[in-house]
């Protein structure tokens, strides 16, 4: 029986070397000081002005893009699956979502720069044809809201992919049963629809939050590091462009790991609850 472990040993060793050991070192490093003594002092980095600002911005943009992505993604999925819409909408939406949820990163940033940047197609179109100047209206792609707009491009498709199986699991029979008992649309949603859908929607939103929180490439390509996010800050440290104590960087990274773990854990728990109703 113990010999069976040989089969999984290569994988485990590999995972340890390239994932397990490094991660453990970071977490340990967060709780030790330069002399390898245990300490909580590293977390005081979180009170440093630019670090605090980075966390605030990261949380804000993750929250905004998660909520926006959740709402629009849910509506799109629901609209595509509604019995009154054309059958061909769903496969196109799902396929495109599969592709678009991978569009994040450098190409996406430049796609938006080509659209809404200073010499972007849409910017110029609005300027020359409709005489609307985005700049005068105070909109710039290279700000918080610009980045949030870009993040939606992969958040919405991710939500769609998560919601399609869930909404499909909302059985017609429940709607028919509730109508046969005299319930109105509002009552159906209040007593049947929302209670069933709330856990998966919440779970998916959390996943979206985590997804945005860990993102780096899109923000970097947009502003070359000019937007202050936790991921950018940690990246600066790794590249040697900013000096933190290594243990302080570990503390920041551990903070991020905690947030991501929380998101994924709650997501799993809520999904398990959902599968009681939606198989």
């Amino acid at each position: 029986m113990p010999l069976a472990w040989l089969g999984v040993l290569p994988f485990l060793i590999f995972a340890f070397v390239f994932l397990g050991l490094p991660t453990v070192l970071v977490v340990i490093g967060a709780f030790t000081d330069a002399n390898a003594h245990p300490t909580l002092g590293n977390f005081s980095i979180l009170t440093q002005h630019n670090v605090l600002n980075a966390y605030q911005t990261s949380i804000a943009i993750s929250g905004v893009s998660a909520v926006g992505g959740a709402v629009v993604g849910f509506l799109l999925a629901y609209a595509a699956l509604h019995e009154a819409s054309y059958r061909w909408i769903r496969p196109i939406l799902v396929t495109f979502s599969g592709v678009a949820s991978n569009f994040a990163g450098v190409p996406l940033a430049y796609a938006f720069i080509s659209t809404l940047g200073f010499t972007g197609t849409l910017t110029l179109l609005l300027n020359n044809v409709f005489h609307i100047s985005l700049e005068q209206m105070g909109f710039s792609l290279y700000t918080f809201w610009g980045l949030a707009l870009i993040y939606l491009y992969f958040q919405i498709p991710l939500m769609v992919l998560l919601m399609v199986p869930t909404i499909q699991g909302l059985r017609r029979e429940w709607r028919e049963a509730s109508e046969s008992l005299g319930a109105s649309t509002a009552q159906f949603w209040l007593h049947v629809g929302l209670p069933i859908l709330t856990p998966p929607v919440l779970a998916a939103s959390l996943l979206l939050f985590g997804n945005a929180f860990g993102a780096y490439a899109t923000a970097y390509a947009l502003a070359q590091g000019g937007i202050n996010l936790v991921s950018i800050l940690i990246g600066y440290f790794v590249a040697g462009n900013i000096s933190f104590e290594p243990n302080a960087a570990d503390a920041m990274a551990s903070g991020m790991i905690v947030i991501m773990t929380f998101c994924i854990l709650v997501f799993s728990v809520l999904q398990r609850r959902t599968s009681r109703w939606i198989k």
């Binding site: 995972a15 799109l76 609209a79 080509s114 659209t115 849409l122 029979e173 390509a221 990246g235």
Partner: protein, 286 residues
């Protein structure tokens, strides 16, 4: 995200039994939903179209100059080769590592599956930025084992294999569970096959669509991966895109179109392959 795991919409079966009488009007799509569909479509199409337009027009009319620009640049070919090299390494390494392991777990250690799921999901919990910090501290030469892997191909390939874990394992595990590996294995063993033969000549041919799905996903990820390559100073294609893009928006647009094309092709191939069901009837019993 596996596009292939959609269920058939419940309305398909239900409609067959409850066909409404002629003249019955289907309910209309509520206005907010219609708006969502329209706005959604515009939001997703416009950046794509704008990028294509920007790559073909530098303000002086239709031209392929932006494309000619990077196609004449030696660095373009250099970085594409580098990215392809790592993509190849990653796919091969990932398949070689995960396929036998997943087979073994499914065959002999099913109770180990939750551990596999946990380990292969860890890359979601450890975003690439954190992974780069962690790898630098572990293998930058100053870690507990003072070997400096950073800067060597092994490090980036190893990191990329880790990033491919969830997709490769997900695809292969699903594929294995859809086939009867116990029967296949026993049949092959009764004919005198050893483990290697079983894996390569019996299981793999049946698992091929799943393996290729995982491989294409991993390939697409590596071709687009920016964080690790940038922080560890490897000169790959996304780095090149970002480098050109800082000063030349139209060349950036052209390169972006090129990058999108790669992703679309990969995912299109996956779609094609997902239509084929994994081998249901073992070859040996036909």
């Amino acid at each position: 995200m596996s596009v292939a795991t959609e269920r058939i919409a419940p309305t398909v079966g239900a409609d067959a039994r409850t066909v409404p009488p002629a003249g019955f009007r289907r309910s209309r799509l509520a206005f907010p939903l219609l708006v969502a569909l329209v706005v959604g479509t515009l939001y997703f199409l416009i950046p794509l179209l704008a990028t294509i337009q920007s790559s073909l027009d530098e303000g002086r009319g239709f031209t392929f100059d932006a494309y000619r620009n990077f196609l004449r640049d030696g660095d373009f070919y250099r970085t594409i080769s580098t990215s392809l090299f790592y993509a190849f390494l990653t796919v091969v390494g990932s398949v070689v590592l995960i396929f036998p392991t997943a087979y073994w777990v499914n065959l002999r250690m099913p109770w180990f599956r939750p551990v596999m799921t946990l380990v292969t999901f860890l890359p979601f919990v450890i975003p690439p930025v954190i992974l780069s910090l962690a790898l630098q501290q572990a293998w930058g030469g100053t870690g507990p084992i003072p070997i400096a892997l950073v800067g060597t191909p092994l490090l980036l390939a190893g990191a990329y294999v880790v990033l491919s874990f969830p997709y490769m394992y997900g695809a292969i595990d699903n594929g294995l569970r859809a086939m009867d590996i116990h029967t296949l294995t026993e049949a092959a063993q009764s004919l005198g096959a050893n483990l290697g033969t079983i894996l390569i000549r019996v299981i793999l041919p049946n698992l091929w669509p799943a393996v290729v799905s995982g491989a294409l996903l991993s390939f697409s990820i590596v071709m687009g991966e920016f964080v690790l390559a940038s922080l560890f100073n490897y000169f790959t294609f996304p780095i090149y895109l970002n480098y050109r893009g800082q000063n030349e928006p139209h060349v950036a647009a052209a390169l972006t179109v090129f990058s999108f094309a790669i992703t679309w092709i990969c995912l299109g191939l996956i779609q094609l392959l997902s239509r084929r069901a994994p081998g249901a009837a073992p070859v040996a019993t036909r």
